[in-house]
Symmetry: C2
Subunit: 370 residues, 2 copies
């Protein structure tokens, strides 16, 4: 394996608790940037892209940003590793589909940049919880360092130039991954989403663009990048995020006051499925983990933290499971293995009991058909 | 409460292990008998029935059958107690609906007789597991004692006389309660049932006549009572029962060999529901207990016995729950209480772990909305 990542654990940044973790799973921000005077990737010949990759690689060797940065060229990775990159939110399908693409990321995977995706650079930062200001700062620092090194293409009128006009200007996209079981279960989500659309923001499900919302997760991000400042764009996004956090908390309170038996039943049954199932598809696992997440926040499970749920949700995705086994499993085998990993994690926990260390438990990677 | 029964426990006879308990939950046999020279209940005036009840009560006082017998007059019981009698398979709706009905039963509820139901006497015996010969002996002993005391109506040509012609002759109905998840899950049950119908036997679901088969349970009994001897009728019933036992075992083996992940998944998920649900209807509880029963037999749960599953299946029926609380609960409260009783029972058990005493754990009877 060429990916310097421990697949049995979620990225280290997921365990650093941001604020408002009950509703905000994580925050992310990226800047789209291109090197001045060099053809943009979508129009560039291979030798141009190769040269960009080389320059990045050389730069990293002499760079003194805090902490080590890994450089991974896409052509060194097999298809499973590429899928894992997507599952960990490190890279997009556009990046992994690009033979001359590259990925740079810090040890905890919280900062890095994509090379030769749609733009020369997609500079990104990720944090657990609600931390838009922090990810902005993290990404900004990296952006400045790269700008000093490479010099970004920009225009007095348009701002930063990008391959796709939807990124022109700031080239910034901020996003928050929200967990909103209250709003969804109480059927209040459509009203909220309508308001969001009018504010130049977009909403997607857990698995990214185009996918349905699954398991009570929503990703909220700015649609507009042009004609407004980064501050102003983040302010809109923050205002809406904070409003949703507030509404979601109200909805949860109403949920547990009004229909407590039904809701608790759903939550505990989901925990029962996670603890006992012998085969578990991605979608059902996501839904159950999402319900249990609601229960953890409501204090129904003492031994499990929101962070652990989020980490498990990430590490039981298909490519993570395949790669931790070391081969591409059939979907039957994968679902059985997923059930085993999750069961193992919850084995010693029980509702009403306190236990649980802070980390995702290691699971042996040998297959078995128990 | 006028019913001398401990409702938190299943009847004592359920914990005396009969043979072939993997497939046969219990065996039952009853004789329909009437007192010679006294109008049969369906045609009798109230004073006649009162006199029969009195004579039974007097007889019991001076009787020296092994062990104590309880006498309960139906007009002393409230509606909940009457429902419990049915749920424990002690009496029929026809009995509990009869103001002048009476019920006599031994301490462990394994032997007794109904007074003034459709016939003056319905003498019955129950045992755990496959024990048709034994229940016949038990019932026969009681029948002889009653015959000596009261003198039964019979006819040289017709045999014992009964209110309904379907009971004429032997007045005997033998039945076995079968657990056949293998045959049902493998879709082999209809073939078996077709054969059964041709042999003068009938099949019903768990909850008795007219009800659908629920949770993999079937009750098999002789339809014919006339023109053949008790021995001969029981021989037919036994032959079919033994054939079904054999077929069911084959089916289970094939089930676990052929589709083990799916079947184990179903079994463990059902266990998960029992352990975690906060509200559980009768029907779902029955289905889940039934699947777990299959798992217990397959060795998937070390800490639980077949007997315990059978006992729990009996004691979480609606009237049992209501009466153990001491009031008629709303169905919402009852389902929540059922979930709590079952959860409590399985609290300390876990798959793959050995534990478990032999008895159904006592559950506090106070209500709570935890």
């Amino acid at each position: 394996m060429n990916l310097p990542i421990d697949l049995n654990d979620a990225p280290a940044w997921t365990s650093r608790h941001g604020s408002d973790k009950d509703v905000v799973v994580s925050s992310r921000l990226r800047f789209a940037r291109n090197i001045s005077g060099v053809p943009f990737p979508l129009k560039a010949e291979d030798d141009v892209k190769e040269r960009v990759l080389e320059r990045v690689s050389e730069t990293l060797e002499e760079w003194d940003l805090q902490g080590p940065f890994h450089f991974v060229a896409m052509d060194e990775l097999d298809s499973l590793e590429k899928e894992v990159i997507q599952e960990r939110r490190l890279g997009s399908p556009e990046l992994t589909g690009e033979a001359l693409g590259g990925l740079v990321f810090g040890g905890d995977e919280s900062r890095g940049f994509l090379v030769n995706e749609e733009d020369h650079f997609r500079i990104q930062a990720l944090r657990s919880g609600y931390a838009l200001a922090e990810v902005r700062e993290d990404a900004q620092e990296l952006e400045s360092a790269l700008d000093r090194e490479f010099g970004f293409a920009s225009d007095d009128e348009w701002g930063y130039l990008t391959s796709c006009p939807t990124n022109l200007g700031t080239g910034m996209r901020g996003s928050v991954l929200l967990h909103v079981p209250g709003l969804i279960m109480r059927d209040e989500i459509s009203r909220v989403l309508k308001a969001v659309a009018n504010l130049g923001l977009t909403v997607r499900g857990y698995y990214g663009e185009g996918s349905e919302s699954q398991g009570f997760y929503l990703q909220l991000s700015n649609q507009v990048t042009l004609g407004r400042s980064v501050e102003n764009l983040l302010e809109s996004l923050s205002r809406v995020t904070e409003r949703i956090i507030e509404k979601e908390r109200e909805a949860r309170q109403n949920l547990f006051e009004g229909e407590s038996v039904e809701v608790e039943d759903q939550v505990h049954r989901s925990f029962g499925v996670l603890k006992h199932a012998r085969t578990l598809g991605s979608s059902e696992a996501l839904k159950c983990l999402s319900r249990v997440r609601l229960g953890v926040d409501a204090g129904l499970f003492d031994g499990v933290s929101l962070t652990e749920i989020d980490q498990l949700t990430m590490t039981v995705q298909p490519a993570h499971l395949n790669l931790s086994i070391g081969e591409r499993l059939s979907s039957e085998d994968r679902d059985a293995y997923r059930a085993r990993v999750i069961r193992k994690r919850f084995e010693d926990d029980e509702d009403e009991e306190t236990s649980g260390s802070g980390s995702t438990e290691r699971v042996e990677t040998e297959r078995s058909d128990d």
